[in-house]
């Protein structure tokens, strides 16, 4: 797997899933929290990536 973006999204998906199931008891709440965590992880990574774009080294 050579796509850094896909590996990062896979990682975010696993962490979001486990945190959501750990913290919430109802499936609907788990889906809601998991979705928010996943969006937060991926969004933050993309923002940080673009902020660091002018500084390649």
């Amino acid at each position: 797997m050579s796509s850094h973006l896909l590996v990062m999204m896979l990682f975010a998906a696993f962490v979001s899933l486990i945190f959501a199931v750990l913290m919430k008891d109802q499936p609907a709440e788990q889906v809601k929290l998991g979705g928010r965590l996943f969006a937060g992880f991926v969004g933050a990574a993309l923002v940080l990536g673009w902020i660091l774009f002018p500084f390649p080294r």
């Binding site: 696993f14 962490v15 199931v21 499936p27």
Partner: protein, 135 residues
């Protein structure tokens, strides 16, 4: 004639032993503590997700870090790896986790393995709380 109710101290001790057993089982078998306590949905998700995350980490070329007291960060990573429980022991016995340092996914692999171990520790602690009725 019914059996006398256990003294509160004995009951508390029993609960604590049960909670420790749930946490230990949850560490050895990811999700095992929750399954044992009847939290089937949570247990099955942890049982599937944590070993899969660990396996993906190995597949990405991640390393199982040695217990090297001379390198504090390596030592911490080794403890985090150990958090994976049985999958970690199986991988160690099978000789996996040598780490492919030249692979571009090496650091990703390490991250998957370390984080899956830390998440399993959280899951085991959650099983402890569930057994005590805190959650």
């Amino acid at each position: 004639m019914t059996a006398p109710a256990p003294a509160p101290a004995a009951e508390a001790g029993g609960d604590r032993n049960r909670a420790l057993a749930a946490a230990a089982l949850g560490w050895v078998v990811p999700g095992g503590g929750h399954l044992w306590l009847g939290r089937r949905q949570k247990g099955l998700v942890f049982l599937a997700a944590i070993p899969l995350m660990f396996a993906i980490g190995l597949g990405l070329g991640g390393r199982l870090f040695p217990f090297d007291g001379g390198q504090p960060l390596v030592l911490l990573a080794a403890f985090a790896d150990l958090g994976n429980g049985l999958p970690y022991l199986v991988a160690r016995i099978a000789g996996l986790g040598e780490g492919r340092v030249v692979a571009e996914s090496f650091e990703y692999g390490n991250t998957f393995i370390i984080v899956s171990g830390l998440l399993n520790m959280l899951v085991a602690l959650d099983a402890y709380d569930v057994a005590l009725g805190r959650r």
